[in-house]
């Protein structure tokens, strides 16, 4: 019975983290999937959201800025707003750049934000980070607090999904696709390309900030490692590419699936090493087993990279390819060609 309970709790944490990653992936989908903006600095926006949430809500603040005691939902809103503001400032400067320049610029921004979080010790407690961050529903009794938090995460994912689906079908979303497919044609049709790209970037950044705010609550403590480009930026990218760029359902599916692979492979490798350790077959000493468990972590990164390469070559459209919204009933039957994503 105990075992099943453990499994149940593991399932909850898997879904919760999958849900948080789904928020991040949906945010990236607005930028990359809809509009074709290559944001390689997801980690930076996530970190902004996480730190805003941590600083505004944490009641103990001897080591860092804080003691504002904001209610959790308000802090989450603030995390979105500030992340969006950072996104706006960056987009104002970099949005005109060609996709790979934008990628370099955003990688740079994320690294600089990391330096800020690491060096501004008065505000962030530097490398030691912020701990005891309040988590929504943590006052409830044992499994219910986890379930309620998961419910909140899934509710947010559902709300964002519905909102993005509406946006995608609306003229706003169709302009985004037009810009992604052919910028000059969109401009020739009288659309202010830069303004639309800016909007898309800001919306995506706000969602990434929300993801960060959720992550800060879930982990209860954060440090500059939260903006690790590997688990923040890279994993989110593979999730989106694997699930299907420009498909919101694909983004959610990719997030949950890849998170299951990422966390499942950790458990498998631990299990495997446990077999070889002194408690099992005794092929490895405890120290060796510890060393190998660190090395296996890198093998898992390699596996994720391989999944990305495989999908890029064999199924570049992802598991769920983009589905263009049907034209308006009045236009149906006309000869307007339906745009498809050119890969």
């Amino acid at each position: 019975m105990e075992q099943y309970y453990g499994l149940f709790i593991y399932g909850l944490s898997l879904l919760t983290m999958g849900g948080i990653y789904a928020v991040l992936t949906l945010g990236l989908n607005v930028q990359w999937g809809f509009t074709g903006l290559f944001n390689a600095g997801v980690a930076g926006f996530l970190a902004v959201g996480a730190y805003v949430q941590a600083i505004l809500t944490t009641p103990i603040c001897t080591a860092h800025l804080g003691c504002y005691d904001w209610p959790i939902p308000l802090a989450m809103l603030a995390a979105m707003v500030l992340s969006a503001a950072v996104g706006w400032a960056i987009a104002k400067i970099c949005i005109r750049l060609r996709a790979d320049y934008l990628a370099i610029a955003t990688i740079g921004i994320a690294e600089i934000l990391r330096l800020v979080f690491k060096n501004e010790i008065w505000a962030t407690n530097g490398p030691r980070g912020v701990s005891q961050i309040p988590k929504a529903f943590e006052g409830l009794p044992a499994p219910w607090n986890t379930i309620a938090f998961l419910g909140m995460v899934l509710g947010l994912v559902a709300a964002i999904y519905v909102a993005l689906e509406l946006a995608r079908r609306a003229p706003w979303g169709r302009v985004m696709t037009a810009i992604r497919e052919d910028e000059s044609a969109a401009a020739a049709a009288g659309k202010n390309v830069e303004a639309f790209r800016l909007e898309s970037f800001v919306v995506g950044s706000a969602l990434m900030g929300l993801g960060g705010a959720l992550l800060a609550q879930y982990l209860k403590q954060i440090d500059p490692q939260v903006s690790d480009p590997l688990t923040a930026t890279f994993l989110v990218w593979v999730m989106l590419v694997a699930g299907g760029s420009a498909n919101n359902r694909g983004a959610v599916l990719g997030a949950v699936l890849l998170w299951a692979v990422w966390s499942g492979s950790e458990i498998l490798s631990q299990h495997f090493l446990g077999l070889l350790s002194p408690n099992g077959l005794g092929l490895l000493s405890i120290k060796e087993a510890g060393d190998w468990s660190i090395r296996f972590a890198y093998l898992r990164v390699f596996l994720i990279g391989l999944i990305l390469q495989f999908i890029l070559q064999k199924r570049p459209q992802g598991i769920l390819p983009e589905v263009r919204p049907k034209p308006h009933p009045r236009l149906r039957g006309s000869t307007a060609p339906v745009a498809s994503k050119g890969e």
Partner: protein, 295 residues
Amino acid sequence: MMEFLSFYLVPGVVLGCIYALGAIGISLTFGILRFSNFAHGDTMTLGVYLTLSLVQLTGLHPLLVMPAAMALTAIIMLGLDQVFYKPFRASPTIMLVIASFGLMLMIRSMVQFLWGVQLQALRTGIERMSFYGSFGILPRHILIIGATAALMVAVHLVLTRTKIGKAMRATSDNAELAALTGIDTEMVIRATWVMGAALAVAAGVFLALDTHVETMMGFKLLLPMFAAAILGGIGKPYGAVAGGLVIGIAEEISAYPWIGAEPLLPPGYKAGVAFGIMVAMLIWRPQGLFRGRQF
């Protein structure tokens, strides 16, 4: 004044040499294969670890085994090109960028898996500055600057005097025209990988000689190398050299107490200098100092 020269300017030039060697590869890949190679920094890491293993195996000076590490890295890059980049030759370049993004993580995680993540050193022992009057310089800095100069001359000779070098420059200037005149594009691409990998290994080994060996060293260099390539004008190897030197020197002298007794920029933010220069260039002069390709 001598303090400024010995402790800020010379280390800046050394750092600049390292950035310059790395930036040539980025600039060439961009010019010839037309994409930003995010895996370039980790190619460098791989080369440094191969050098480390060769040093441990033979006991020779790192610079003596470096050519072997360059050759090995170049062969590995040619193999990776066949498997991960070649399928996208005719695709939009963004596919190549994402593929290099993935390869960056794959190379690094393989290095971390095989060699572990603890700090290591190419050479042990502490070096003392040799003084010429009141001007002091570390012997390893003389070595790095000298070796970089020799490599630059070699690159210059290859690009201007050999058939393949001329073909590379032609392809970088105008790929369609170069292909029309009968230049073998695949051959040029292979030469680009070999040259970029060799120079990246040299840059990495020089950095490791100056500091230490760690698995994130290449990724940390990625941004300054891109900044150098953009500053010099994308696709212009000589511009990349100038850009690398400017960025290296700017990073080091940003910590000089220009105003008052405090460093002008806290050392923790040194890495931000390259980024600042890069963004400024992208806004005001995206074609770079040497009129490279503009986007």
